[in-house]
Amino acid sequence: MPELTLVDAVNLALARALADDPDVVVFGEDVGVNGGVFRVTAGLQKRFGVERVFDTPLSEALISGLCVGMAAQGLRPVGEIQFMGFLYPCIDQLVNHASRLRNRTQGRLSCPMVLRTPHGAGIRAPEHHSEATEAMLAHIPGLRVVIPSAPERAYGLLLAAIRDPDPVVFLEPTRIYRAVKGEVEDNGEAMPLDVAFVIREGRDVTLVSWGAMVKDTLEAADELAGDGIDAEVIDLATLKPYDEQTIVNSVAKTGRCVIVHEAARTGGFGAEIAALVAERALLSLLAPVARVTGYDTVIPLPRLERQYIPSVARVVAAARKTCKFPD
């Protein structure tokens, strides 16, 4: 199987979806001739034509609204927002329309759309290019929010998102767009949405993460192994609706839980996981639930972005403290 970057895996999934289903259309700013500012859509316009892969005007609210109109007609629109910092004008369409069209019409119309956007910091990009505000989206009923942490899951989850009968926001962690490679077979197989992946089994502590932070969390688990701490690592992958049971089961086993995300702490999606554990796994808990997150500050410009993003060392320290508790 070929080793692909996450960028290539997404490209492959898009190509596959376009090839398999004439209802799939891909659009956004610079996705056509230019192939996307991250080259995610490279070659697609040439292969599938300008009506299926096209550049929109510079209008994010429009991009999300177009998706709704197309999806209501049974197309499978895949819109791209160039960076998550430019997704905010889409929230109106996501909350007020995309996530509701099925419910509002009691199934008469539906909204099988995907809105893709790069996610997170760590690539020394300019202001507004490092956002990680998945928690805002994961609060929206009727929506799905998916974020892969590796090329193989990017491929399978994106195919699932495109085939899903309901709206999906698909977040692509820029920090690992090219920093990781994985074996991806172009087999057209979708992976399940709303399932969390236990990507490392362990007995001592449950580490829950998603997106680019999964890589760091795995590194932390390696480092913890050196201390004799056997960490279980869960890649949440789908944040909305999310797989509560896998987390509860894991914490029931380990008794300890550390949640790792890049977004600001207060009201981040880590709060939801911690709340779940406090509700459904309290009696298993041997230590307080810990959150290792970005600070409650504006994500800084590149000079300080590495200080903002949780480091492996911070994850390790939190896990150690959790495992040593109540020392």
């Binding site: 109109g69 209501a72 369409q93 019409t105 008469r108 009968p165 709303d194």
Partner: protein, 373 residues
Amino acid sequence: MVPPEAAVGQDTRADQDLPVIAEFAVRRRAYMAPDGTLLRDLPEFAGDRESVVSMYRGMMLARAFDLKAVALQRTGRLGTYATSLGQEAVAVGVASAMQPADVLLPSYRDNAALLWRGVTMEDILLFWGGDERGSNWSGPKQDFPFCIPVGSQAPHAAGVAYAFKYRQQARVAVCILGDGATSKGDVAEAMNFAGVWKLPVVFLVNNNQWAISVPLERQTAAQTLAQKAIAAGFCGEQVDGNDIFAVHAAAETAIAAARAGKGPSLIEAVTYRLGDHTTADDASRYRPAEEVKEHWKEDPIARLRGYLISRENWSKAEEEQIAAECEQRVDAAIDRYLAAAPRAAESMFDHLYARLPSVYAAQRKEAEEQKNA
């Protein structure tokens, strides 16, 4: 009403020596004076008495429906409701120019258009009665439900039109917006995109001159709303929105052009909101009764009646028969509406996703049990 000959909008500040590189004109369409007398030759469709009468019936039905809907609201049997009082020619004029396979994207005020398109009155009432089932109508399956966030259906219209074009279907999306909606950025974005792709979409602005309490001159400095299309590179036309011939003719032309691949249009139908904004509003707070009274003189229904009487031998009997028929249909629909089965609490989960994610099963159960508690 804008005087038909005045050419406004000329830039008096610009250096008149500079060469002109682009010129634009907004035209205005009107056939009937307020009393129903003719200003110019009527469009062809007006020659068919039956279709003119059916438009009249459509407007009458909308008015009868509105009247009773408000009464239902006043007696606590319906939620907030927006009438089309005085604007019936706009909704009926455009809806009657559409084909069944076209797709309508209405605002909350466009009950009259939905009625024309075949949505049942009980479905409309069910929606305004606070029940989602009302939008699962048996009428035009692909029409959009009422849009309440002002203007936000304009991008949908562009998306629908893109789908038509992509699939090479000779269909047209028709999006009805208010004058207030023309200030929304999403509307501008949608129009701009429709221009680039020459999409088969018609934006129809019901310029009833008020957005709740905000009069047009506080909404925009644009002399006409038709000129909003110039920014998007296509054409806009103003019509007398109380003249159903004008609305229908403009819509027919625009829809035909869209269907023929000639791209989008904007139609500004100038009319007046004779009623309150909705049943939750009290317009006497912000506009004088005299202004409203003045505009009653332009009532589109009276106008068409005037035309029918003077030109089509319209009889009192025909008139009364239509009124009675409308009344009766509305009453029957209200009975069906009031008899609608209650909705189970747990049903709020049933169309959240195509299939309910298992993680929400417990919540659904909770809702069900709560009801039984």
